[in-house]
Amino acid sequence: MTHEEAAGLLGAWALDACEDAEAASVERHLASCADCRVEAASLTRAAAGLGELAAGA
């Protein structure tokens, strides 16, 4: 998976909205791409924030 492909999937990945094979490809890319790791961490925190909303709703 290219950087562009992986980066394009990061939002879906952080929301658990990829299919398993795609999620695995994204994670393989993350292991080798620091830029995507930074964005993935930030998007993961945002997704976890939606979980806070579920808890506070």
């Binding site: 961490a41 979980g51 806070e52």
Partner: protein, 228 residues
């Protein structure tokens, strides 16, 4: 069943969360240890206190597990019940999450975020797995998705974060908000989001990414990017 009663059912034999069988199996498993790389690692993402708590869990300290559960049990359960729409399933998910932490504490990567973020992430991914398994089993045309039950309102939460996330979500452009909420709360894949909204898959992917980015930016601007 009240929220607290639901959590109470996780307690088995006076030992919260984890049955004796599970606890005894931990010895066989051998256990990863976070202590070596966790201790002394200073990071803005996870606090030293969180690292100590996870390190204690890694040594098999049941009191530390109880502490973790007391702190994050309601968050994990609330996410699970919201995504699965099923309290029994949510209890299973919550139990899986804490057993997973007990068995594999090394899965916590402090560089990727706080303990709270990790547990919320685990809860969501397990809940989504549950929903997808159910769908695969039943292939139901429509899934009943009740809204959040009213007694979840009493759940103690990180209300400052919830409030800011709520504002960030409200401020999203409608197309991004709809896509993000479908994916997170209704366990839709981006392909399902695309089909449901009748938009190209690439558009669905980018709405999810842009929407989450905006939420992330709001949290970071308010200094809440790394809450604990």
């Amino acid at each position: 069943m009240s929220h607290r009663a639901a959590l109470g059912t996780l307690a088995i034999g006076g030992n919260p969360l984890v049955s004796r069988r599970v606890l005894s199996s931990v010895g066989e498993w051998g256990g990863a240890r976070v202590g070596a790389r966790g201790a002394g690692l200073s990071t803005s993402m996870a606090s030293a206190e969180e690292l100590r708590l996870v390190a204690r869990i890694a040594t098999g300290d049941e009191a530390a597990l109880r502490q973790l559960y007391a702190r994050y049990g309601s968050l994990v359960y609330s996410i699970a019940v919201r995504v699965t729409g099923d309290r029994c399933a949510a209890e299973d998910v919550a139990q899986q999450v804490f057993i997973r932490v007990w068995e594999r504490p090394a899965g916590f990567d402090p560089e990727r975020g706080s303990l709270r973020t990790w547990l919320a992430t685990l809860a969501h991914s397990r809940a989504v797995d549950h929903v997808r398994r159910e769908q695969a089993c039943h292939r139901r045309e429509q899934r009943q998705l009740p809204g959040a039950p009213s007694d979840v309102e009493e759940v103690a939460t990180s209300s400052a974060v919830a409030e800011r996330v709520g504002r960030a979500v409200d401020a999203l452009p409608d197309d991004q908000r709809v896509a993000v909420l479908l994916a997170y709360y209704d366990a839709r894949t981006y392909r399902e989001v695309a089909a449901e909204l009748d938009i190209p898959e690439g558009t669905a992917k980018s709405r999810l990414r842009l929407g989450l980015r905006r939420i992330a930016r709001c949290l970071e601007q308010e200094g809440l990017g790394a809450w604990t």
